[in-house]
Assembly symmetry: C2
Homo-oligomer: 417 residues x 2
């Protein structure tokens, strides 16, 4: 069973907004065994929409369309669908009552004709009731393909996918199983990891696919198995993960998507009842932000001082001006003193400190662009490492964040062994 997701809207094609709807729909369908064939973004143009519908007709089982269902002139999806199906628009009384209720009760003003027109739907369509907005979803079948039209507003789209589309697809279609398993590795590049697991990769069964998902400082390996026997697929994935762990167990830090290093670290710190603080210069608060994006971070994360200006390192962290002058602000000594200071200030077990030059220009520091010092204060000592993370700025920041978290994780794991 295959589906293609179509997004309608010039705002996507000119890069004004990023389409996050397609990813949500894809993940929801993948979970119930529907394969996504393609995602396509097209313009708010009648001919372009008609051409796309015709092209997808009978190529896939499901076409899910988002966008262009609003009340204004540039919203042409409904009319165009009607034209494609040779249908006419009729008032759906349930939708009309809902729209009037929503506008008058929630917005507290009379519903206009433009509002009421939201209740016009093609006569053949099955209405997918949108409890959280005014534009209904529509489900229409032609030959072997079902076309589903959804509003582009993310929370309305999500509501309809979760409450209307997924249950209806499960009920009406027979689907295979798709099992994914993601293994998160740290500290080695994509090609090095690939070399280490070459034999293992060559021996994977035909129905298991391996993908490498590299990002600065880490590589995720994703295994995907597809078939009709769910238990068999899960067993085979499990076996291969075990044999993989025997080869690269030293760099595996977790499994599945939600197992990012900050989640794993959070779990370790909570288990160990240890606390953490950060003093951040070149990372500008990103380590704190990444840590606090995890629910429950208040169990172990006490806070951070983002000492972006040199004077903040002196006034808030209490570093000595002479030390900063002597070694320069981007130095092992300053990183070390920052880690000691924040650990003391926030009374934590661990502290991570960063100082470096993320570029793009050299600034007042003499440090080369990409030079970063990371200090890790533990209950017993302070470890400082120097790196050059190259360019651009974004990469230097991300690699520093990942490396800092990795240094802490290694330290905690070392103490557990």
């Amino acid at each position: 069973m295959k589906a293609t997701i179509v997004t309608i809207g010039d705002e996507i094609l000119i890069g004004q907004i990023v389409d996050t709807n397609s990813g949500f729909i894809a993940k929801s369908l993948d979970r119930i065994g529907v394969e996504i064939h393609e995602m396509i973004s097209i313009s708010d143009s009648k001919q372009h929409i008609l051409d796309t519908l015709a092209q997808l007709q009978n190529q896939v089982d499901l076409v899910i369309i988002t966008g262009g269902l609003g009340p204004t002139k540039d919203d042409i999806t409904k009319k165009t669908l009607c034209e494609y199906f040779g249908d006419t628009l009729v008032v759906n009384k349930d939708v009309e009552a809902h729209v009037i209720d929503l506008i008058e009760r929630v917005m507290n003003r009379p519903a206009s004709q433009m509002n009421k027109d939201q209740a016009l739907v093609p006569s053949q369509c099955t209405v997918l009731h949108n409890k959280v907005g005014t534009a209904p979803g529509m489900w229409m079948k032609k030959e072997n393909t079902v076309f589903i039209s959804l509003p582009g507003v993310p929370y309305e789209m999500k509501y309809l996918v979760e409450n209307e589309i997924i249950p209806k697809v499960i009920k009406e279609y027979k689907r295979p199983y798709i099992i994914h398993k993601t293994i998160l590795t740290y500290g080695q590049g994509e090609s090095l990891v690939a070399e280490r697991i070459e034999n293992w990769e060559n021996n994977l069964p035909e129905f298991i696919k391996l993908a490498y998902l590299p990002s600065p400082g880490k590589v995720r390996l994703r295994l995907s198995a597809r078939g009709t026997d769910k238990e068999f697929l899960e067993k085979k994935i499990e076996e291969n993960v075990i044999s993989l762990t025997k080869i690269i167990g030293d760099i595996i830090v977790g499994f599945e998507d939600s197992d990012t290093i900050e989640v794993v670290l959070g779990r370790l710190l909570t288990q160990q009842k240890k606390t953490l603080a950060t003093a951040e210069s070149c990372t500008g608060g990103k380590i704190a932000q990444v840590l606090t994006a995890v629910a429950g971070a208040s169990n172990y994360f006490k806070g951070s001082v983002v000492s972006y200006a040199t004077e903040t390192k002196i006034s808030v962290l209490g570093l000595s001006e002479a030390l900063v002058k002597e070694h320069s602000v981007v130095s092992a000594q300053v990183a070390k003193e920052m880690a000691i200071a924040i650990k003391r200030l926030m009374k934590t077990d661990y502290a991570i400190a960063t100082t470096g030059n993320a570029g793009p220009s050299k600034g007042d520091e003499n440090a080369e662009i990409g030079t970063v010092f990371i200090a890790l204060a533990t209950p017993n000592e302070v470890i400082v490492e120097e790196f050059n993370f190259g360019q651009p700025r974004e990469k230097v920041i991300d690699r520093t964040v990942n490396k800092g978290l990795e240094m802490l994780q290694k330290e905690i794991l070392k103490n557990l062994l």
Copy 2:
């Protein structure tokens, strides 16, 4: 001149990652007058790639492909392009020298055969040198269409778009002008705005297109004009914006271009020679992180205290324990005192402070999930606002970051008038 952007990668089709590359490429091309016809995401499958290339052949002038250029087995773009062009892979000596240098000098280990194979390119291609990574970009022409292949790692893709593709497209193609102007309105819904400007919209000239971009609480109106006479287009857009302002001036709060709020704020603060600090609780350092992701932030951003734990608010920011106890940590009073404290501590002109409950659970505070207080300290006063940003956690954090920056921007703009 038309382009289609193709993203290759199963990780996008299963919803594991959101494709942000296409938006960046679209925005860059749109700016120089290239119209984006479609964006397509397809799987890591040879046949799917070949079919897509054949379908796009002569349909558009440019096809920009990202992804599938890594060194590992699942990276098949290069071989597939070669097959489509009936070409063979040859070693490019410049790329080989660059790859070896990057691996040996930066990564400090010998380059493997897998690394060196990154220097293999189709013999007919023009290499786009990738200074920030190992996978080169490739530019290949067949009949009326140029196919450009880029690595999917965002900063490598960005480097090649900015430094290689845009200059080459400007040099080699004649393009029309595309002028956009976005008007940001607050406080009225899409259909209400549409009703108010109906006459104005009906009188827009043919070559100016209007789009409504609604999101909770605000509607952006985007005017797009396309033609060969840049000055004429700019004049016409300007005239229509002026007449629009006469109709809905009461709800227009700004003219947002592609600049993010942190970039605009950075420019304003630099021009005004003003400085900023943040004290962050529920945002966990994300305001600092967003600000410092902009190059040159050290001109105006002094730093942040991420006072995630209540005790940090007391020990580092110096809030009174009695005040926190009396009003609770999620309160207008605490937000206000945090803003005052950080402004004094970092000696800045402005300060933003956040405290709230981002969820998912209620925690020790009594505050409802989604409740957030944002305080803005200016040279003269402290403004505190209360919000409920609902759920989930991620949305609460992001909306708090945006709202905090927006409050500051409004304040600075108000003083400029």
